[in-house]
Symmetry: C2
Subunit: 280 residues, 2 copies
């Protein structure tokens, strides 16, 4: 199979590395607005060649869009305009409803599979790509009934090659669950970083005193706005809903402290401890 | 040197393992209200023997209190009542002002060093102890002028054997910095866990969809209330101060989303990204 990666960053690069290592693709064609990324990806063995989207579409079987979700919403209909009958298109976006809507009535909709591999880091660019990141994690396929069986088989084959477990959801449900489990933790981490940077004016102290716990909690705050503003924008209602809940949960801690209600504080902590039973 | 560990949990156990591995102590005496912990610690080679506090004080040179901060505040004056002239006492508590106040005018105050090694995990108990956890992290010594030079030399020798970098602060400053950099991240993590458990009623989905990012952000929410309620209680004012700032930072994200002010959202994220320059 010949693969085109549209956006040779962390996710696109990691998918390409793994599919090549698994012997699933024999050639990878890179497309990216950033020439430095293309050159780095070629150097790192992520892609064999690069060029325009049109050129990529002439040479490849599977086209993977790994660009910010707003860019995907714009580009996906254009890619579907151009695909030949045998070609399959997938994206890896962290929101799905807007992307799904952008091609809802496209004549080639069946050649597209909405795909979300649940892995990422705070880093970006092809230099951060690694082959074995996806193994054991979930990949969500959305609105499977809108895709052809050939397209679905290809997506499942890709997921299997990445070592991922496939889950099926409709795009709207995906976006709700993603807000609860992924998007909110980015907001809490960004806000924590801003809190500490606001309060701790001696920046040296942050470096000196940061334990592994603080580093872990604030890690996602390093994630770039180019990826995350479009996600929050696409998933605004769901993110606001869970953000309101989160502020209300923090207010309970505040109230327990203000009222010196140590029984309530202990209860809130014991409730949070239930996460240990879910994430071992 | 003969070491007594009062509280053979994660921290006490890890200190004992490392000091023994470094050849600094030749015998470790364990004291703990929990007999199962003592037996586990003996099995794991953390302690050689165990018994009462009185017994420990007859046989050892260095007494390390590694129990919750409220228990330290109660026990430390009693330990200082009993120490012989050559003995040194240290604690590892995450708050320092209350503990320092509890022995401020004690006749043996100079034999005590207020010590805070900046490491921990969400786990507890001697089975979680590991020898090489502390290396490269900071250890804070508070109110050094209240300790004798012999006591300080012992504490610095211990820090060196643990591979830690020593910082000096007064107890009040320590508690402010600890609230900013360590205590608040526990509250945000607990509140995030409660948020997700409240919104995501399909618990299977949390397990299935949890990316490494979510797991990392919510990891501290597994930490036990036995340790953390006393910390928040001791450091109430500083924690409330930073918690208020944190809620106000989250409200900025909320406002940016509600008003669809994507420039502000990007600005908030770019501000948070500055943490990358501090924590590589």
């Amino acid at each position: 199979m010949k693969l085109a990666i549209i956006g040779v960053g962390l996710i696109g690069g990691s998918v390409a590395l793994k599919l090549r290592a698994a012997g699933v693709v024999e050639q990878v064609f890179g497309v990216d607005a950033n020439t430095e990324h293309l050159e780095a990806a070629a150097r790192n063995g992520i892609i064999d060649k690069y060029g325009s989207l049109q050129h990529a579409l002439e040479e490849t079987d599977l086209i993977l869009l790994a660009i910010p979700v707003d860019a995907t919403t714009k580009l996906l209909p254009q890619v579907l305009d151009l695909v030949q009958e045998h070609q399959i298109v997938m994206d890896v976006g962290s929101t799905k409803a807007g992307i799904a809507a952008s091609v809802k009535n496209h004549p080639n909709r069946a050649q597209y599979v909405a795909f979300h591999p649940m892995w990422g880091t705070e880093n970006s660019g092809p230099d951060s790509a690694t082959a074995d990141s996806f193994a054991g994690r979930s990949a969500v396929i959305c609105d499977a009934t809108d895709s052809s069986s050939h397209a679905l088989e290809t997506a499942e084959f890709v997921a299997q090659a990445l070592g991922m477990n496939v889950l099926h959801m409709d795009a709207a449900s995906h976006d709700i669950h993603a807000a609860y489990i992924s998007h909110i933790s980015h907001i809490t981490s960004y806000a924590l970083a801003n809190t500490v940077l606001e309060k701790e004016r001696e920046e040296d102290r942050i470096f000196q005193l940061a334990s592994s716990g603080f580093s872990s909690t604030v890690r996602l705050a390093k994630s770039h706005p180019e990826m995350w503003v479009p996600i929050f924008r696409e998933n605004k209602e769901n993110v606001l809903d869970v953000l309101n809940e989160h502020i209300s949960q923090l207010r309970k801690f505040k109230s327990a402290l203000e009222k010196e209600n140590w029984e309530l504080l202990e209860e809130l902590i014991r409730s949070a401890n239930r996460i240990r039973g879910i994430l071992k």
